[in-house]
């Protein structure tokens, strides 16, 4: 009866929480929130994306509190998010307005505007850089100065700012069907719980909030053998999107009258999936369908996997569980999955006693 003795639970918990603090501090170093914000961009992006709360500072605090455990940090941010009233909704954000930092296409070498590699691990060798052990701030600052001077000189011939979308080119060639803009008010799964069948806005929301590992895994499964598709990345772009809200003091809904409230950095992916289309007299033609992914921060694998799953759920092939919206959408949320798995650690003495009674009764019947 280790942890449900009639009395004493309270003291045991307090001691356990002290232990936890001890674990965080025992090496006698304190991580500052600023350091986390500066040096853990990857983790911050992942945590913001899974929390669906865009704040680098809050993410950094929660990473500190959770000792770098993304599951814990996301949990903290989501719980905090629950306490925030929704005061404004942004105006529709158009990804063509992105100030692009990185933008590649795996489909076309020569895309209008060109490929911009930006910053990426893709072209590095994954060799541990032992020099980082003794990295000195003076060296870092010196390097920064040189780098910034170089980029300033090059600025004229470096693309920055807005870029045309790759898919627009395909549309103009007639290779991708033109789709109309859908400016229907999106459903929000955090305001009204999800019901099936879902709308696309709900699916995209659940996918973008999904646990990075889960979204990647299911996207991979769809790619490898449980989804029968082979997509190509039409365009992957990373950059900042400006966010505007309507003037809260009047109902003008006018562009001129809206307020700029800041920028969010996102990864956006459009994948192209070749699909045979039956034409007259048994003829088939190939056409491209599109899968869409967008995440907070630089989360490229997740955004690509999301675009695959978006397409899977749009088609809903009953043969594969990766196409089953209940299977995918109800199991990829970090807080839900980790919460229910971890609840198995709670005492189940009553339920187990009850089961024991049933087991004994079945034995008696023999």
């Amino acid at each position: 009866m280790a942890y449900v003795a009639v009395k004493g639970g309270t003291i045991a918990i307090e001691e356990s929480i002290k232990r936890l603090k001890y674990e965080r501090l025992r090496k006698r170093e304190i991580l500052s929130v600023k350091e986390i914000e500066a040096g853990m961009r990857g983790l911050i992006d992942q945590v913001m994306s899974e929390s669906s709360l865009y704040s680098e500072e809050l993410a950094a605090i929660s990473i500190k509190q959770g000792e770098g455990n993304p599951e814990e940090s996301v949990f903290l941010l989501r719980a905090y998010r629950s306490t925030l009233p929704r005061k404004h909704y942004s105006r529709v954000v158009n990804s063509e307005d992105m100030i692009v930092e990185r933008r590649i296409s795996a489909s076309f070498k020569d895309i209008p505007g060109g490929q911009t590699l930006g910053s990426s691990y893709d072209y590095t060798h994954r060799l541990i850089d032992f020099d980082l052990i003794n990295e000195k701030i003076e060296d870092a600052l010196e390097w920064l100065e040189r780098f910034e001077m170089e980029t300033d000189e090059k600025k004229d011939n470096v693309h920055g700012g807005k870029m045309p979308k790759v898919l627009d080119y395909l549309r103009s060639e007639g290779l991708v069907l033109d789709c109309r803009e859908n400016n229907k008010e999106p459903k929000d799964v955090t305001k009204k719980s999800i019901e099936f069948p879902t709308e696309r806005s709900e699916r995209l929301q659940v996918l973008t909030r999904g646990q990075t590992g889960s979204v990647t895994t299911l996207g991979y499964a769809a790619l490898r053998g449980y989804g029968a598709l082979h997509p190509t990345v039409g365009e992957l772009r990373i950059g900042n999107l400006p966010i505007y809200v309507d003037n809260p003091l009047n109902d003008s809904k006018d562009d001129e009258d809206s307020f700029y409230i800041g920028e969010i950095r996102v990864t956006e992916v459009e994948t192209l999936i070749p699909i045979p289309i039956e034409k007259e007299r048994g003829k088939t033609e190939l056409e491209f369908e599109i899968g869409y992914g967008m995440c907070y921060g630089q989360n490229e694998t997740k955004a690509i996997a999301m675009s695959i799953l978006d397409y899977c759920l749009e088609t809903g092939n009953p043969k594969y569980s990766t196409h089953d919206e209940e299977f995918v959408l109800l199991h990829i949320d970090s807080v839900e999955a980790t919460g229910f798995i971890s609840h198995l650690k709670l005492p189940h003495y009553v339920t187990f006693q009850s089961k024991l009674d049933s087991v004994r009764k079945t034995k008696k019947g023999e």
Binding site: V6, T83, F340, S342, V350
Partner: protein, 281 residues
């Protein structure tokens, strides 16, 4: 960046929204009302459904009792209680009769509840048909059609395989002769306490985002067959080693020294109250 939290954690708009779903649940006994379940400071699966109900209902005058598997001092009960009192400053109690809101995981207290009290049960899987049908879309339709052969068949198969119904906790009940409902994993022993209860019973599933209710004096019947009646866990001729209590749900324990099996009331506050009244008598 310092932030203070609102009374009972939530903003008032969120509380109102949860209460609206609760009212609907009371109006349709046993029907699972979807609600926009929030992420809470405790983990999903650890009682967030119950906690959201409690926080949406609690007022400054309320007295709260929180139990986990019958115990007021179980780690999770303590944890939830700490959160509620920290964000509200209200009174807590171990005494069942004193409480206005009782949040419980997997037990209904042994001391009968009174009119005006609210029992909040934490629910892991609110769908009684989930084990026979994984799809939410389909189970929702089965409820609409009052199509419960899946639940009956599950019980029938248990009888065929094991000679009796082997449901353990969470034995399905029929509410108000309309909806089949998962009573949350309370032991079968507690199912009867739901029938025509004096207190309002609310059930909250945070992760599954459902609220449902049994209003006071509602008919609640455990599913069973004429020739295979519903049976509760038997603790015949078992007595609590501490208070000598009988006919209550018991924990089965092993004496560390002698290695012998002994029994103890699972409802720890019932056990302590009984001892107290015997001592003062």
């Amino acid at each position: 960046m310092t932030t203070r939290y609102n009374f009972a954690f939530f903003d008032e708009g969120s509380k109102r929204e949860i209460r609206r779903a609760t009212l609907k649940a009371i109006a349709i006994p046993g029907y699972q009302v979807p609600f926009a379940s929030r992420e809470m400071p405790i983990a999903r699966g650890w009682g967030t459904g119950g906690l959201q109900l409690t926080l949406s209902l609690v007022g400054k005058e309320d007295v709260i009792k929180i139990i986990d598997q019958g115990s007021d001092e179980s780690v999770n009960a303590v944890n939830i209680k700490k959160l509620v009192t920290k964000t509200t400053g209200i009174q807590e109690t171990h005494n069942t009769t004193e409480a206005t809101i009782i949040q419980s995981r997997h037990r209904i207290p042994e001391i009968p509840l009174k009119e005006g009290q609210i029992l909040v049960l934490q629910v892991p899987i609110p769908e009684p048909l989930r084990y026979v049908e994984p799809s939410e879309y389909i189970t929702k339709r089965l409820h609409a059609d009052k199509e419960y052969s899946g639940a009956w068949l599950m019980l029938f198969e248990q009888i065929m395989k094991y000679g009796n119904m082997s449901t353990g906790a969470d034995h399905p009940v029929s509410v108000n002769e309309r909806y089949v409902m998962a009573p949350s994993p309370i032991p079968r022993f507690d199912n009867g306490k739901m029938n025509s209860s004096n207190a309002l019973i609310l059930l909250g599933a945070g992760r599954e985002k459902k609220i449902y209710a049994i209003p006071p004096y509602t008919k609640v019947v455990s599913l069973a067959f004429e020739d295979y009646p519903f049976e509760v866990e038997s603790f015949e001729d078992k007595r609590c080693r501490i208070c000598g209590g009988k006919a209550v749900f018991m924990d089965e324990l092993i004496d560390e020294k002698t290695g012998e099996k002994y029994y103890q009331c699972n409802d720890s506050s019932y056990c302590l109250e009984k001892l107290k009244s015997e001592l003062s008598a």
